[in-house]
């Protein structure tokens, strides 16, 4: 249940990042898409991470002991799912 919610919010924030940069939003997200090739720039990712922290209550990139850099959208979502026990109670 929580995992579904986290996934939904992360994808929503990715959609917002595309909209913010006036990029095309696909009907169905391809989880294999390489983030660097998606057109979202570093500012876009910074905004995603910050707004997800506000919405979910955690920033996995500051929680992880060994830094992991997501390569694809699927990696990005997985990282958030991995730390979903930190999800704030609504």
């Amino acid at each position: 249940m929580n995992k579904e919610y986290v996934k939904k919010i992360v994808l929503e924030s990715f959609r917002n990042a595309l909209v913010r940069q006036e990029l095309e939003v696909p009907e169905q997200f391809d989880f294999d898409i390489v983030l660097l090739a998606s057109g979202v720039d570093s500012l876009g990712f910074a905004v995603m991470v910050a707004s997800l922290e506000d919405e979910l209550g955690y920033d996995p990139f500051t929680l992880m002991e060994i830094p992991v850099y997501p390569k694809t959208l699927g990696d990005f979502v997985s990282i958030y799912l991995e730390y979903s026990e930190h999800l704030k109670t609504q």
């Binding site: 913010r20 940069q21 570093s42 500012l43 990712f45 910074a46 905004v47 991470v49 910050a50 707004s51 506000d54 990139f61 500051t62």
Partner: protein, 442 residues
């Protein structure tokens, strides 16, 4: 040599000067209380005095008591008094507690009202201390009042509402305007209550000096537009076009001035044409009072005439006749010179600088936005992100979906600003607290 006592002696003694919550005070009563304080400290004349302020609204009596008698007086609110390092010249000073209790216990017998000032007292005023411990800046009565309107006949009938902290430079300017300019002062100690507008209206307040942020909060109060304001003064922060227009529309008959001043430099100049910034031609010739302005490396520099200068006693010793860097960033745009923000106030987004006030001025253009603060939020990816807190007009909030409105605000920013300046996160909040000086907490 001028002083508070001397200015008061030129006024009609029966005139009301202060309105407190439950009583009014005449010029004569004011002088009497001040003289009683001086009487109490009569053996300390010509020495340095620390005015440790507990109750702000009784400070005027203590200022009048020591101005013209003490060599120096430093004004320190008790909340930070112990942190301030006083200059050598204050050594061996007497401390007086500025409180209602002190006045209640004072003897008012045998008060000799014919005492005359004997010296020109130095006033030591703390800066707002937004960065670290406040510094103390030296002024005197003449330098503090040089830019005030001292026509007591014209000033009669002007009733000022006090919104500033009277222990700070801006508040002292309002107090001294009342003292030398012949007006009355209404204390607004219940300013947080919803009875504020009623109180101002009962007291027929027609003049208010406040920061643009304070003005934005004031106009949110119900019935505020029913006040009959004639004199409107803004200072302490950048007066942006939206705030000026909003106030000019609410009070079309009022004179609106925005004042450029700082505790360090005193009053620099004031602008009365209801437009932001100041005319570019002021950069090419001295102002009528001799003040000169120039832009160097994007910073505004100011040089003032000797008579209206103050001297800094701590934290730097630049001689007063030299050009002073105000650390305010300005740019020429058409026939105006506009303020961009403080030189150290920029948010660094991935190496690109963003002035919070530039983003704030765009958001304030939206009619639903009443108050806004833009800050930096640390981001491991780009260093900092621009984030905005926004207070909305409550009456409009009911009509519009907040989510939709937030999108509208982001779109507004996107249409006018580069991508890195657009707030990454925009929150709608109930209130934005201001500092003691009435400014946004940067």
């Amino acid at each position: 040599m001028s002083s508070i006592v001397e200015s008061l002696s030129r006024r009609s003694q029966g005139d009301v000067i202060f309105h407190y919550r439950d009583h009014v005070v005449s010029v004569k009563d004011f002088s009497r209380v001040a003289t009683a304080i001086r009487n109490y400290y009569k053996d300390s004349d010509s020495k340095a005095v620390e005015l440790r302020v507990v109750d702000r609204d009784v400070l005027p009596y203590f200022l009048a008591a020591f101005d013209g008698y003490a060599s120096r007086m430093v004004i320190l609110h008790e909340s930070f008094a112990d942190e301030v390092v006083l200059p050598e010249s204050m050594s061996g000073h007497v401390r007086t507690i500025v409180s209602r209790k002190f006045l209640d216990e004072l003897s008012y017998e045998n008060v000799d009202l014919s005492w005359k000032p004997t010296t020109s007292t130095k006033w030591l005023i703390p800066t707002s201390g937004t960065t670290g411990v406040p510094k103390v800046i030296e002024h005197d009565f003449d330098s503090l009042t040089s830019k005030l309107k001292a026509n007591a006949a014209k000033g009669k009938g002007v009733v000022w509402g006090m919104f500033y902290d009277v222990t700070r430079f801006a508040g002292l300017q309002v107090l001294l305007q009342v003292i030398v300019g012949g007006g009355e002062l209404v204390w607004t100690d219940h300013r947080t209550s919803d009875k504020l507008v009623e109180w101002l209206s009962d007291k027929k307040v027609n003049a208010i000096s406040a920061t643009p942020s304070m003005w934005r909060k004031l106009i949110m109060s119900e019935n505020f537009d029913r006040l009959n304001l004639k004199l409107i003064t803004m200072g302490g922060e950048i007066a942006d076009a939206s705030t000026l227009d909003l106030i000019a529309n609410l009070f079309p008959e009022a004179k609106i001035r925005h004042i450029y001043a700082s505790t360090e430099a005193g009053v620099g100049f004031s602008v009365i044409d209801k437009r932001p910034g100041f005319p570019v031609e002021w950069l090419s010739k001295a102002l009528p009072d001799g003040t000169e302005l120039k832009i160097q490396d994007g910073h505004l520099w100011i040089r003032k005439q000797k008579s209206s200068q103050c001297r800094q006693t701590l934290g730097g010793d630049s001689p007063s006749s030299e050009w002073m860097n105000t650390e305010d960033l300005v740019e020429k745009k058409g026939d105006r010179c506009l303020f961009l923000g403080r030189s150290n106030g920029a948010i660094n987004v991935g190496g690109l600088k963003v002035q919070p006030s530039e983003v704030e001025s765009i958001l304030l253009q939206h009619s639903s936005v009443k108050l806004v603060i833009v800050r930096g939020r640390p981001s491991p990816i780009v260093g900092n992100l621009v984030v905005a807190d926004v207070v909305l007009d409550n009456s409009l909030l009911i009509k519009q979906d907040p989510h939709e409105l937030r999108q509208e605000l982001v779109d507004l920013c996107k249409s006018k600003l580069e991508a890195h300046k657009v707030p990454a996160i925009l929150k709608i909040v109930d209130d934005i607290p201001l500092t003691d000086a009435g400014k946004l907490k940067r």
